[in-house]
């Protein structure tokens, strides 16, 4: 029996310990805000926080999630008012939106570690998160905004 905490709630799991956390979140807990994009750690769509750090849930087996505290996009803020989410709305970042849960979770983890990241630090932290619609410049602008830095570039 695997015990873990998801969005502040204690959970128990007795299924396949090799199942990635991604599918547990999506199909057993219906936290479908966490997305599948590649299953190989290549795209970042499945990014969640494990003990506050950004982690690819498709690469995290249930066995290694035991005892950990998981936060998904649904648990990032009770009212979707995390500064990163606010900035995402202000900049109208999403196009299709599919990658954005992962982007937001990655960005939130970045700002926790580096409250005022440089552009190079933003790129380094975000380059594992693919956005096929190409919202990157708004992502960068929104992260700068959320970190209280001036936003460069015309909009």
């Amino acid at each position: 029996m695997i015990q873990l905490t998801v969005n502040g709630q204690k959970r128990q799991f007795d299924g396949d310990p090799e199942m990635p956390l991604l599918w547990y979140l999506r199909e057993e807990l219906q936290y479908t805000g966490t997305k599948y994009g590649c299953g190989q750690g290549l795209c970042g769509a499945c990014t969640v926080h494990v003990n506050g750090k950004a982690v690819r849930s498709c690469q995290t087996l249930m066995s290694s999630a035991a005892g950990q505290s998981i936060t998904t996009i649904e648990g990032l803020s009770a009212t979707a008012s995390h500064p990163v989410q606010q900035a995402w709305r202000n900049h109208d970042v999403p196009q299709c939106g599919y990658c954005q849960s992962g982007q937001i979770m990655q960005a939130a983890a970045l700002l926790r570690e580096k409250p005022r990241p440089t552009d190079a630090e933003i790129d380094a932290a975000m380059k594992g998160n693919i956005c096929r619609c190409g919202t990157y410049q708004r992502i960068r602008a929104a992260i700068r905004d959320a970190s209280g830095q001036t936003v460069k570039g015309a909009r």
Binding site: R26, R89, D92, C96, Q137, R138
Partner: protein, 757 residues
């Protein structure tokens, strides 16, 4: 185990007669009939309301509830372009509704809406008039209802922000209070409608957030991959690695030992034209996506040898190049190219090549379907729910009226999701197992079994005259056509493919000929964002720039010279022009020059000089009836790595509804175009696709994408044109032209990859 309680909560309502669930029986409803639009053109629309039910065949529903809410039933899919949010702005504008009281409901698939195929950058241009008329009609009926109630002249009654106001007495009634009365009004004739003047617009032309913005930031938006049905099981499908291979035998013993695997089911081999039929294969059915995928790994399957088993894309490249070196079918002829070549002393030739591409939308295709008592109910991330109805009906041998397709949000589409093979897979499997079945393609499935953007070779030849300007221009192209997907015997390009930047090259050159050679397909071919424009514009606008360099002239000045004086270029009458007349949407060189000059000016073209591996490049292209120019700055480092600090894009797409969504589409086109130019490519060996996921099918990441794309929208009151696709074609040659300016190396084959190393 599934948590049934939660599943119910996010489940979709079954809606046999969906209106009943969306709008109450006392709502004032109005529909607008619009054309069943395709490339061939439009029919005229007609409006209907409650008052003449006999004629009711509504296309777009607008309902006004007694509590004042305006409900719009949107028939276009949302895949990131904002189309399902932007069209309602047009309707709300003419209705003069309070935007806060407008709610959207997604339509199921139904031919009464006209085309729902959210494809071809046509949502606005094909439905703009329809939505304006629907709004203006409802407004007039509300005014007349109020006038009747007050016993005054309707001319004294005017709608203002969700109320009808009688100016002389300052009385007012809300939309909700008038809903019941308005439904008794006869529908006004089109000639009676009044439209708002642009100066009075409150929504159109303004930045309004999309209806889906918040749900995409808090994780609650429901995509196809998130859709559920009570009691559903999951499927993962093993398909022939070579297109055309048929199932010979399989052994599922080990697969069935995987915990959670329930059974295996075969899907019949693909027969007849590819169309949108499933590819066939062996499905592992399990109680979770994970168990199904694990079970599939344990399957042992043998396939028959396919006629495509010899497909090798590097050899096929040679075949295509040899084809375009020979005279081929003429698709456009101006003047006498041969005579001009015979006289010429200076000839320049070049060959170009562009590989297959995969759509790779961030969300793979996914659908859940339930077959029961001869009916199918499904939820899918589809661009085209009516094609779902047709395809599922055909696969199961039922009437399409018995296929109810609900459209989820789409995590990108780019053309892949207008081909509903995956929905038919889910429906067939549901029939076989007697439960709702969810089919979720893995990324590997997505990359290895796509409807690929085709592979193309182009041959270009020019006779060089005075100041390096061509006196004759010949262009020849060959590629497996999208037509092969519908007719396996097709050899040449379809007229709509030629339309996309091949038989409409607008240069001021006296002798011009465009040709198209035959090619056979070895994989499924489909349309991908901006379609044939991608390789055709790559060759045409790269070759133009080659000629500028040869002539030692400035690329911008040369481009403007080749475009020539502002004028209307009359194309052949059989030129499709996206189904629009050339009177309404002419090929206007003046508008093309304007975008070129705007992009150049914003890029600082006149002041910037290339240096140290850094330079500007420019290209301009009309597609989807929209004029776009891109001025791109590239940097090429010592190791041959290309980065793109900046792109300036100028756009004339006619009337603009939501400028922020236009900007976002062109920002995205900059990134999509950069992926195609620099890194994406699908190759095949022994009939098998060599790529499988984002490590080898590369798309631009934040550190590889253009750093900044600035979008400049030209003010225009011309009829609206496309936005989702036309940004892509000019970006690719503009990048390559900038590379040539920076390094002296001409890119004749996509992607750039390590060519500069």
């Amino acid at each position: 185990m599934q948590n049934m309680q939660n599943m119910q909560k996010i489940d979709f309502l079954p809606r046999r007669t969906f209106l009943a669930h969306l709008v109450s029986s006392s709502a004032f409803l109005i529909g607008a009939r619009a054309a069943g639009l395709d490339f061939t053109g439009a029919t005229t629309g007609e409006l209907v309301s409650d008052a003449d039910k006999a004629a009711w065949n509504p296309n777009v529903y607008l309902g006004i509830e007694p509590d004042g809410r305006v409900i719009l039933i949107m028939h276009r899919s949302e895949m990131g372009t904002g189309s399902r949010s932007v069209l309602p702005m047009v309707l709300a504008e003419e209705l003069d509704a309070d935007w806060k009281q407008v709610t959207l409901e997604q339509a199921i698939g139904d031919q009464k809406y006209g085309s729902q195929n959210t494809d071809g950058s046509c949502s606005i241009r094909d439905f703009y008039d329809t939505f304006r008329e629907a709004g203006a009609t409802a407004r007039l009926m509300l005014e007349r209802a109020a006038a009747a109630k007050w016993g005054v002249s309707a001319a004294e009654c005017r709608v203002a922000n969700h109320f009808v106001v009688h100016a002389p007495t300052k009385r007012k009634l809300g939309f909700g209070e008038l809903a019941t009365l308005a439904r008794q009004q006869p529908v006004p004739r089109k000639e009676e409608l009044r439209f708002k003047s642009r100066a009075d617009y409150r929504y159109v032309g303004k930045h309004l957030p999309t209806a889906d913005r918040d749900s995409l930031v808090n994780g609650t938006g429901i995509f196809g991959i998130d859709a559920t049905m009570p009691g559903m099981v999951h499927a993962s499908i093993e398909r022939s690695p070579v297109f055309g291979g048929k199932l010979k035998s399989y052994d599922d013993k080990e697969a069935k030992t995987v915990r959670g695997v329930l059974q295996t089911v075969t899907i019949p081999d693909l027969a007849g034209p590819t169309m949108f039929q499933p590819l066939g294969g062996v499905a592992v059915i399990a109680n979770s996506t994970w168990a199904a995928a694990k079970g599939r790994e344990k399957l042992k399957v043998e396939w028959t040898e396919s006629p495509n088993a010899g497909y090798d894309s590097s050899k096929f490249r040679q075949t295509l190049l040899e084809t375009v070196r020979q005279p081929q079918k003429v698709v456009r002829n101006v003047g006498d190219v041969d005579a001009a070549f015979a006289k010429a002393t200076n000839i320049h030739e070049a060959e170009y090549y562009a590989p297959h591409l995969s759509h790779a939308p961030m969300e793979p295709v996914a659908a859940v379907a339930e077959y029961k008592d001869g009916r199918v109910v499904c939820h899918a991330n589809t661009q085209n729910p009516q094609a779902v109805q047709d395809t599922v009906a055909q696969a199961l041998g039922i009437d399409k009226k018995n296929v109810e397709c609900h459209v989820t949000l789409l995590g990108g589409g780019f053309g892949r999701k207008s081909k509903p093979d995956y929905v038919a897979e889910a429906a067939l499997l549901s029939k076989a197992v007697g439960k709702p079945v969810k089919v979720t393609w893995s990324r590997e499935d997505d990359i290895r079994f796509d409807y690929y953007h085709t592979v193309a070779a182009m041959y270009m030849k020019a006779a060089i005259g005075e100041r390096g300007k061509p006196t004759a221009w010949l262009q020849r192209v060959a590629y497996p056509s999208i037509g092969t997907t519908f007719n396996p015997a097709a050899t040449h390009a379809e007229a709509f493919e030629m339309m996309m930047g091949w038989n409409d090259v607008p240069f001021d050159i006296p002798n011009h000929r465009a040709e198209n050679g035959p090619a056979k397909n070895h994989v499924r071919i489909g349309w991908l964002r901006s379609v044939a424009n991608i390789y055709q514009a790559f060759a045409v606008h790269s070759f133009l720039d080659e000629l500028a360099h040869l002539a030692k002239r400035d690329s911008l000045e040369y481009l403007l010279d080749l475009l020539g004086a502002p004028r209307i270029v009359k194309l052949d009458n059989n030129y499709i022009n996206h189904g629009k007349s050339q009177d309404q949407y002419p090929l206007d060189i003046g508008r093309m020059r304007n975008v070129v000059e705007m992009a150049a000016e914003k890029s600082g073209w006149a002041k910037k000089r290339p240096g140290a591996g850094r330079a500007l490049g420019i290209a301009a292209h009309r597609s989807f009836l929209t004029y776009v120019a891109a001025a791109v700055e590239v940097e090429v480092d010592q190791s041959g790595r290309v980065s793109i600090p900046n792109i300036e894009i100028a756009v004339d797409a006619g009337t603009i509804i939501n400028p922020d969504r236009v900007r976002s589409q062109f920002e995205g086109a900059g990134v999509f175009g950069a992926s195609i130019a620099l890194m994406s490519g699908i190759t095949a060996k022994n009939g098998m696709i060599e790529q499988s996921n984002f490590h080898d099918y590369r798309v631009a990441r934040i550190n590889e994408a253009p750093r900044q794309v600035n979008v400049h929208i030209l003010n225009s009151s011309a009829p609206p044109a496309g936005v989702g696709e036309p940004g892509v074609p000019p970006v690719i040659p503009a990048i390559c032209n900038a590379i040539a300016a920076a390094t002296g190396r001409r890119i004749r084959e996509l992607p750039v990859g390590r060519q500069l190393a």
